[in-house]
């Protein structure tokens, strides 16, 4: 291992530990008692004193009684082994700390990139040709970005609260409160999104406000209701026959509604493309643009309907299930999205070839 200590900024707290690592790497061996450089910081003063004196023990065995030196040596060796073990544990902890810092760094870079894009988005006044934005700040979108970040934090807190409550077997009344909070929290999200759709529906449709793994599953501005039901259904057994029937019906009706909305959006895409592409050779496009704007306003409708569908599906789910089942369902949902977000961070942090 190289000694990069000079390359690191001195302000970094890890500098000190790095210094230790370079020493650890120097052919460290648990039996290498002669290595006087290895003095772990947290080893007691007593041991330290004995370490220093161990150098003198080996070459001058003849100076002591034959039995005592052997015991002493054995003790030294044992202490060395112990110290070495502790060193290895510390090294492991340090490496783990490095790994999580790397993850954090990747996360921050992602956020920075998103903020930068958002900044470009906002400051598009100077270059409308490139980003097609009017010369005004889209405050509706910036407001949403901030609110959504808080929403995610609150969501994580609610998941923890649910998990604790379920493990502690709290009463149904308390669980009911948590389930209602969970449902309300999603309703808040849909309200926020309705405002954002008015500000710029493309922003919601693009999924830029979500993490990359979530975006893979993106459907008309958010999650697919049927996908959520798939996640929840595994967590809520056992179901009564009546519940089983109702859950099947819910899965079928949400799937049908999704298909209908998808086909509506496809038709909109087709219609928009035809409109924009009509009479391309003349170079005159004013009328087409006006027509296209009207069509894009219809897209806002679709995002609103999709969110409406999401809300209805969640509400029906709560109606069908018992309080405890609904609590497990919300926990499963929350954990599922949390993992997708974590997956996105891991993906961003994964080692890549340089250059």
């Amino acid at each position: 291992m190289n000694s990069p200590s000079t390359e690191l900024p001195r302000s970094m707290a890890i500098y000190e530990q790095f210094h230790h690592i370079s020493r650890w790497g120097d052919g460290f061996d648990s039996n290498n008692t002669g290595s006087s450089a290895i003095v772990p910081a947290d080893v007691g003063l007593k041991n330290k004193a004995e370490y220093i004196s161990c150098e003198q023990v080996e070459p001058s065995i003849s100076d002591q009684e034959t039995n005592k030196p052997t015991d002493k040596i054995r003790r030294r060796l044992a202490q060395n082994r112990e110290a070495a073990r502790k060193s290895r544990l510390r090294k492991k902890a340090y490496v783990q700390q490095l790994e999580s810092s790397r993850l954090k760094l990747a996360q921050l870079e992602q956020e920075l990139e998103r903020a930068r894009q958002q900044g470009i988005y906002i400051s598009g006044a100077s270059d409308t040709g490139c980003f097609g934005l009017p010369g005004t700040v889209n405050s509706g979108i910036t407001a949403f970005e901030m609110e959504y970040a808080h929403w995610v934090e609150e969501q994580n807190r609610q998941i923890c609260e649910l998990r604790t409550a379920l493990q502690a077997h709290v009463s149904d009344i308390e669980l009911r409160i948590l389930v209602e909070s969970g449902l309300n929290h999603y309703c808040n999200l849909f309200r926020m999104k309705a405002d954002a759709a008015k500000a710029d529906v493309f922003y919601l449709i693009s999924g830029i406000w979500r993490t990359s793994a979530e975006r893979f599953f993106h459907w008309i501005g958010g999650f697919r209701p049927s996908e959520i039901l798939n996640v929840v259904v595994l967590q809520i057994e056992p179901l009564t026959d009546q519940q089983h029937l109702e859950v099947c019906n819910l899965r079928q009706s949400s799937q049908q509604a999704e298909d209908a909305l998808s086909q509506g959006v496809d038709k909109l895409q087709q219609s928009l493309a035809e409109g924009v592409a009509s009479d391309l050779c003349s170079g005159n496009y004013k009328a087409q643009m006006v027509d296209a704007i009207d069509k894009l306003e219809a897209l806002e409708n679709f995002v609103n309907q999709a969110d409406h569908l999401r809300q209805q599906t969640l509400q029906q789910m709560v109606r069908i299930l018992t309080t405890r089942q609904a609590a497990r369902g919300f926990l499963a949902m929350g954990e599922y999205f949390h993992r997708l977000r974590a997956l996105s961070s891991l993906w961003a942090a994964r080692p890549r070839e340089s250059g």
Binding site: S254, Q256, Q263, G264, V265, S271, H308
Partner: protein
């Protein structure tokens, strides 16, 4: 006329005597002629979505395209008044009774009330 339809129209129905050719009256008449009636505009994509929803369920709705009807624009205005909101379309009637726009239809499908309503009107079997 307003007596028998008061149930479906609620307070939207005019209580004064109506003229023949009143758009609302025409809407009501068209709505009662078939089990499932959708008022639509052919270029409207949300209307396309609602048509696909019913077809996907195995229902064969009657679709009235307002842009292809000579009195379409009058009916469109009447529907806006009826719904109390824009846009006028799509709007769905089942068994002659007003169900509503896309959000009401989807909500009733999700909460399980749409299918029984369709069966009752004879639009769906099994």
């Amino acid at each position: 006329m307003h007596c028998q339809t008061k149930g479906s129209w609620g307070s939207y129905m005019p209580t004064t005597a109506v003229v023949i050719g009143d758009p609302l009256e025409r809407i009501e008449r068209l709505a009662s002629e078939n089990a499932v009636v959708i008022f639509s505009i052919s270029s409207c994509c949300m209307c396309h979505a609602i048509k696909r929803l019913f077809c996907g369920m195995g229902v064969n709705p009657t679709v009235i395209e307002l842009d292809q009807d000579p009195r379409g624009s009058d009916m469109e205005k009447a529907l806006i008044r009826l719904l109390g909101a824009s846009p006028a379309v799509p709007v769905v009637f089942i068994g002659g009774k007003l169900v509503g726009a896309m959000d009401r239809v989807m909500a009733s499908h999700i909460n399980g009330t749409l299918v029984p309503l369709l069966k009752q009107a004879g639009a769906l079997w099994l």
